[in-house]
């Protein structure tokens, strides 16, 4: 059995205790003087015009999904770029296939009107 991680077991309750103690103490000891200006979401920022709890267009979701896809694409591109020379034509071929599939997705989204806002 590997015991080298055992200290972590002792750190765990300690790590739990610290925030609990801090939260309890501030609640008990801290002076409270609430006012309307203090309880807005962004205390020193712009006053929110309406409540945040309302419906918003589902198109934001599409944008988020597209962003996620092409963001992950970049994650895969980086290691290839770092090892570009070693990977040579083989790496180029594999990445081309990968990119071609993603481009196909983009073409599909475009043609299906996924990129249009209205």
């Amino acid at each position: 059995m590997d015991w080298s991680y055992t200290p972590l077991l002792f750190v765990l309750p300690l790590a739990l205790m610290i925030p609990i103690v801090m939260l309890v103490l501030t609640n008990v000891l801290g002076p409270k003087n609430p006012s309307a200006a203090k309880s807005v979401p962004y205390e020193s920022g712009i006053a929110p015009p309406t409540s945040a709890e309302q419906r918003f267009p589902v198109r934001f979701y599409l944008v988020a999904v597209s962003f996620l896809l092409f963001d992950v694409e970049a994650v895969f591109l980086f290691p290839w770029a770092v090892r570009f020379k070693e990977l040579g034509w083989f790496g180029f071929g594999v990445m081309s296939i990968f990119l071609a599939i993603l481009v196909l997705g983009l073409v599909y989204e475009w043609r299906k009107g996924g990129l249009e806002w209205d």
């Binding site: 070693e86 990977l87 083989f90 790496g91 196909l104 073409v107 475009w110 043609r111 299906k112």
Partner: protein, 496 residues
């Protein structure tokens, strides 16, 4: 310096069925993008070319599939994988033809449906042809995600939406369970190859635990008790053609992968009570499935519970295999999967055939007198019900016979007594459909739909149900199903 794998065309040939389905799916996406949803494109026939081409690819290499691995150990080409692959392609082919007519009837013909079916089929093929944890997981996701979407495909229908949502949430959870099991094996042994990993980690409790967790992730996909809760709701809510696909192709792949994982776990067989675990899962699965099916009035829900019960019968093959390593049990399982595929697709086909443009007729009492109104379809439905109940001389009987026989030969008497009692119980709810078809007066004039393509699929399935039943020797079966055993032994020898 990095090791660049040398990849030639010869490495890709074993992957051909997978590549055909996968690239075919991409082409379908492209076509859908280019025609911009214009009506009139023959989606179903074009999509059907993919599993048909994959079948040709399997046939062309039938004798050559001798347990070689491709890309390291990422993909195995052996006769077991090819057999499951053929089953998957047959089920996909039939389901695609059902889909064409079904989507026309519900007025939701869209290209993406067919692309998703193709992607899912490629995942199924991969899932059944590997013991590498990474490709196993890749296959699992590739087959699952399209099926989640397809379950919720009728997005104006609350039942379908519920099915999609439920399947997605539970399926994602079971994928996580699967990954966790795989991670435990990896962490103990430092390899993602399941055969190698379980050989190295045979004595480690962590790897044994990982193996059992991995197994439960797979048992979820195979819809076995206690991981069956999603099945009735998803099968009922999903579009009927998708249900047919899920109940046959996905089930075949899930059992293929299960058999591989159980085989790869052979070094553990002495260390954990695997046979007992599978024994209880099998007994619970068939009993719960059958008891719940007794009271169902919705035909899709009834078939869902029946598919749970059938998963229980199929598991008997694995119980025997996990005790004895006898490959006959596995060929019985594969034979039963083939029988199950044709009779189940046929039954769903009849349901789709009768659906008209406004609605499907899913309540069994609605079928009153339909056997006299549409004699051919009524007869076909009766054949499928008789076969599902396991009455000779149909395929369902011989499938059960092969599985039960190998279990009896190895002394699993109590298991078989329970299974036969269960079979007898199931006759009640299958025959209830026939009673409605022939012995009840029609309650109201039902507006029936029709479809030539679905009629043809139903006819093919009905003939196949008898043909497989009458000529079981023609299928007994599958050159070299022993290969999974040889392959496990081979891997063990190679690893020494």
């Amino acid at each position: 310096m990095l090791a660049i794998p040398e990849i030639g065309w010869s490495d890709l040939t074993p992957l051909l069925p997978f590549l055909i389905l996968c690239v075919g799916g991409l082409v379908l996406v492209l076509i859908d993008a280019l025609i911009r949803g214009r009506a009139g494109f023959p989606w179903a026939p074009v999509t059907a070319l993919l599993p048909a081409a994959a079948l040709v690819a399997y046939a062309a290499r039938w004798g050559d599939a001798v347990g070689e691995t491709v890309f390291g150990t990422m993909f195995i080409e052996d006769s077991f994988g090819s057999t499951v692959g053929v089953l998957i392609c047959i089920a996909t082919l039939l389901a695609v033809f059902l889909s064409g007519s079904y989507l026309d009837k519900v007025g939701r013909t869209r290209g993406e449906y067919y692309a998703l079916i193709a992607f899912s089929a490629s995942g199924l093929v991969l899932f059944a042809s590997t013991t590498e944890l990474l490709s196993l997981f890749l296959g699992l996701e590739l087959l699952s995600i399209p099926v989640y979407v397809l379950s919720g495909y009728l997005r104006k229908n609350p039942l379908s939406l519920e099915a999609g949502m439920k399947y997605f949430l539970l399926g994602a959870f079971s994928s996580a369970v699967f990954l966790f099991g795989g991670a435990l094996i990896y962490v103990t042994t430092g390899t993602t190859d399941l055969v190698e990993g379980l050989r190295l980690g045979a004595g480690s409790p962590l790897a044994q635990l990982g193996f059992l967790i991995l197994l439960s992730g797979l048992l979820f996909k195979a819809a076995t008790v206690p991981f069956h809760m999603w099945t009735p709701d998803v099968y009922q809510g999903a579009p009927t053609a998708v249900t047919a696909f899920m109940a046959t192709a996905v089930k075949a792949a899930a059992f293929g992968a299960l058999a591989r994982v159980v085989a790869a776990g052979s070094p553990l067989w002495d260390n954990i009570p695997l046979t007992q675990v599978l024994w209880w899962v099998a007994v619970l699965t068939m009993t719960v499935g059958n008891l719940a099916a007794l009271t169902q009035t919705n035909v899709k829900r009834m078939l869902a519970y029946s598919s749970i019960a059938h998963a229980g019968y199929l598991l008997i093959g694995l119980v025997v295999f996990s005790q004895t390593g006898d490959h006959d049990a596995l060929s019985g399982m594969l034979y039963y999967l083939l029988a199950y595929t044709v009779m189940n697709i046929g039954a769903f086909g009849v349901v789709i055939y009768w659906a008209n443009h406004e609605r499907e007729h899913l309540e069994i009492p609605q079928y009153a007198g339909l056997g006299w109104r549409t004699p051919a379809l009524g007869l076909a439905m009766s054949v499928f019900m008789i076969s599902l109940a396991g009455i000779p001389p149909t395929a369902g009987f011989f499938g059960k016979y092969y599985i039960f026989r190998s279990a009896i030969e190895h002394g699993f008497h109590s298991l078989i007594i329970i299974a036969v009692l269960n079979s007898a119980l199931s006759v009640y709810y299958y025959l209830r459909v026939m009673v409605a078809l022939y012995m009840r007066k029609p309650v109201a004039t039902l507006e029936l739909g029709r479809s030539t393509v679905v009629g043809a699929v139903v006819a093919v399935c009905a003939v196949a149900t008898f043909w497989i039943g009458f000529a079981p020797d023609a299928f007994s079966f599958v050159p070299g199903v022993p290969s999974i055993v040889e392959w496990v032994q081979g891997a063990a020898i190679a690893a020494r």
